[in-house]
Symmetry: C2
Subunit: 172 residues, 2 copies
């Protein structure tokens, strides 16, 4: 799919295809459709990032709260979105040893209690060990720093999901 | 569920329960969780409305684009959210005569072509005849007026969905 094909999409198809580049936030892609035509994939990505950056802090926290826990309840009950399932499995989070699973669960709860939103990380940029290390380290940050860091990770996830969608035509 | 029970909800439960008061936009309820405690249901509703009002115009259009067509494809293939299905059925939109169905389909397409977002109306405040009349009339409006009007309807739908959730405890 080249960018001219993306620009030609009616909003319904655009939202169907790109609605989950920001996890469970079709509002974001539905909003940036207003900004077409895009000159490139990078331009579409920039429009998404600008939309996110313009949200109030509560809106950024809202985006984070639409994300599942890593190796959490939604993974175990098969309720992840397709994209999240693939990303978590790719980092080995669907096959943790029981001691690792306990540790992730405890740290996820600590993180959520401290910040009021879940730990978000671009799993495809990591492996299991580095995710565990980062989760542990980031529990010690300040809330505003973690909100900003979580949004950085949302944008990394978004970039990779966009690249997947534009590279493979089977979604059209 | 009284407001103190609402205020005591962890964000995950809050988003599970209130995530669809704005159709397919869990981001909105996930964002306003930051604003708790709410002093009343009206206060929660006001927080949602303020969040929507603070969005850029593209974001408001994004909210509208997350709504299904009335009596459209999602209804016919059983893909509506539970709330939308009940609202559309309550107004008789699941049982249109074939001439009515053709007319709605034609007007929906005209509306979307003109505005780039779907016709949104609070179906529970209407019956089939008044929805058809309003759809036809609103096709003649200007885009900015229709965006504002659609968002007014989103807020009416949200108010009724909130009332349903807080009145019935079976969602907790």
């Amino acid at each position: 799919m080249d960018i001219s094909a993306v620009n030609a999409l009616p909003y319904e198809d655009f939202v169907n295809i790109f609605g989950n580049v920001v996890e469970k936030c079709p509002l974001v892609s539905a909003a940036v459709w207003t900004r077409r035509p895009f000159v490139s994939l990078a331009d579409l990505e920039a429009a998404i990032n600008q939309f996110i950056d313009a949200l109030p802090e509560s809106g950024k926290e809202g985006i984070l709260r639409c994300h599942p826990d890593l190796a959490g309840r939604d993974l175990h009950r098969g309720a992840l979105t397709r994209e999240s399932r693939q990303e978590q499995a790719g980092a080995g989070l669907d096959a943790l040893r029981s001691d690792e699973a306990s540790r992730v669960s405890r740290l996820n709860e600590e993180y959520k209690r401290r910040f009021g939103f879940p730990f978000v990380v671009c799993a495809r940029a990591h492996d299991k060990a580095s995710i565990l290390r980062e989760l542990s380290e980031r529990c010690g940050n300040e809330r505003a720093a973690e909100r900003a860091r979580g949004i950085q990770e949302v944008k990394k996830i978004c970039r990779l999901r966009l690249q997947d969608l534009v590279r493979s035509d089977n979604k059209l």
